[in-house]
Amino acid sequence: MTSIKALINSWQSSLSIGFSSELFIKIVYLVLVWSTLKLLMIGNMVWGDDYFILLSDPFTGPDRMAMLLNIPAVRSYYLFFAWPFLGLIITGIFGFHNVITRFAVWFLFVNLHFGNGAVSTGGHHLIQQLLFFHIFLFQVNDDKKSYLASLGRFLHHLAHYSMWLQIAILYLVSGVWKLKGDLWIEGCAMYLTLSFKEFGFPFIAQSIRENTVFLQLLTWLVLAYQVFFIALIWIKPIRKWVLLFGAAFHVSIILLIGITDFGLFMIASYSIFISNDMARLILGKIQWSRGLNPSA
C-alpha cells in the first residue's frame, strides 16, 4: 500500500517518461503519414465516392460521429478528414501538438479507419485505442507546482502505462481466442496460412508440401508469445528480449505474410516501451524535439 502511494505521488511530482511518450508520438505519427499517403493515392475508392465496399451506418446520435464516412453524402468530402489529419500528424512529428490537436488526430483517425473497414487490421484497431490514450500525454515540466500540473503529470503516466496494457490486451485477446480453436494447438496454423498464396508468395505456397517441425514450433512460439506477453512485458530484465522477438515476428509478418500495415503499426507501438533515457538520447540525436514544453 505504501509503495502504491509512493508511486502515485511520484507520478504527480515528476514526469519520468516524457521523452518516451514524445518519441512514441513521433514514431506512430510517422507510420501514420506513410499509411495515409498511400491510401490518399486511391482516396476516392477508399473514402470517396468511387467506393465498392459495403457501408455501415447503423448508429444515431453522437455515435454517428464515429462513422461519418459511412454516410454516402459525406464521402464526397473525405479530403476534409484526410488533409487535416495528415497536417496534424506531420506537424506533430516536429513536436507541435497539444491536447486539442491530439484529440483531433484521434477523432479523424476513428472516422478514416471506420470509413473503410475492408483495409482495417488489428493494428488499426490498436492504433485507434493508443491514439485515444495519447490525448492525455500532457507534457508538464517538473518545475510546475500547481494542482493542475500535478494532475497533468499523473494523467500522463496513467495514459502511458494504459498503452502498455492496451498492447498486452491485443495479444491476450488474440492468443486466448486462438486457444479456443484447434489448429494453433495442433501446430498446423502456420502451415495452413502459408498454403494460401494470398498470405505470402506463390513460391512459398507451392513449396510447402507438409507441416514441418519448424512451422509447428513457429506456430506454438507465436501462440505462447501472444498469451504470455501481458505478464512478460512487466519483467524489466527480459523486456528487451521479449520485444526483440516480437519485432522479429512482426517484420516476418510484413515480409512473408505481407500484412504490412499491421506489422508496422505493431512495431511503431512498441516504441512506448523504450526507456526514457534511451528516448532522450534518440530525440537528442534527431533534433526533432521541441523540448518538453509546459503546454498541454
Binding site: 475508392m45 465498392f52 459495403l54 462513422m67 484497431h125 489448429l183 494470398e198 505481407g258
Partner: protein, 178 residues
C-alpha cells in the same frame, strides 16, 4: 477510476459475453461500440480454410470479355512491393468477394429467388459500382455484366496433408443497356 472502468469494459467486451450478467454486457457494448470497438481475432480461433476471389466479365459491342480477377492484379503488385497500396486495393476486393459469397448463401436459403433478389444484394450493388465506375471497362459502353466468386478451399486429409478444392459460383447476368 475512469481508466480502470475503461479497461474493465475493454476486457468485458472481449471476454465477458459468457461470464458477465447480460445487463452488464449491454452496458459494456453500449460504451465500447463504436468509439472503442476493437477486433483482435487475427487468424483466431483458426486461420481461414478458404479464400474467395471476386471475378467479373462484361459484354460490350465486341461481345463478352474473359473473366477478370482484379484482386489478382493487385496481389501481383503487392508481391513486388509490400509497402504500396496494392494490398489495400486487394483487401477491398477481398471484402467484396466475401460479401458476394455470403450473398450466394443468403440467396440459397430463399424460396424460389428471383433475378431481382440477386441484384438487390448490397454486395452485387457494390460490384456494379466497381465495374461501372472503376474497372478498365468503365465508360466503354457496357451492355451487360456478370459477377462471380472463385473459392479456393484448403483442407487436411487423414495424414494431415493439405488438399485443395476450388469452386466457381456465378451471379445471373445483369443487363444495363441504355
Amino acid at each position: 477510476m475512469g481508466f480502470a472502468l475503461h479497461f474493465f469494459s475493454v476486457l468485458g467486451y472481449q471476454f465477458g459475453n459468457e461470464v458477465l450478467p447480460k445487463k452488464l454486457n449491454t452496458i459494456i457494448d453500449r460504451y465500447s461500440v463504436p468509439w472503442f470497438y476493437q477486433n483482435y481475432y487475427m487468424f483466431a480461433p483458426d486461420p481461414t480454410y478458404h479464400i474467395n476471389s471476386f471475378v467479373f466479365r462484361v459484354e460490350t459491342e465486341d461481345g463478352w470479355t474473359d473473366w477478370q480477377e482484379p484482386g489478382l492484379d493487385q496481389l501481383r503488385q503487392h508481391w513486388q512491393n509490400r509497402f504500396g497500396n496494392a494490398s489495400d486495393l486487394y483487401d477491398m476486393f477481398y471484402g467484396l468477394s466475401n460479401a458476394l459469397y455470403d450473398g450466394i448463401i443468403f440467396i440459397h436459403f430463399m424460396e424460389d429467388p428471383s433475378v431481382e433478389d440477386w441484384f438487390s444484394l448490397p454486395a452485387h450493388n457494390a460490384a456494379e459500382r466497381y465495374i461501372t465506375l472503376n474497372s478498365t471497362f468503365a465508360g466503354e459502353g457496357i451492355l451487360a455484366y456478370q459477377v462471380g466468386v472463385k473459392t479456393e478451399y484448403h483442407f487436411f486429409d487423414d495424414r494431415k496433408h493439405l488438399k485443395t478444392q476450388s469452386i466457381f459460383q456465378k451471379y445471373p447476368v445483369k443487363s444495363i443497356k441504355p
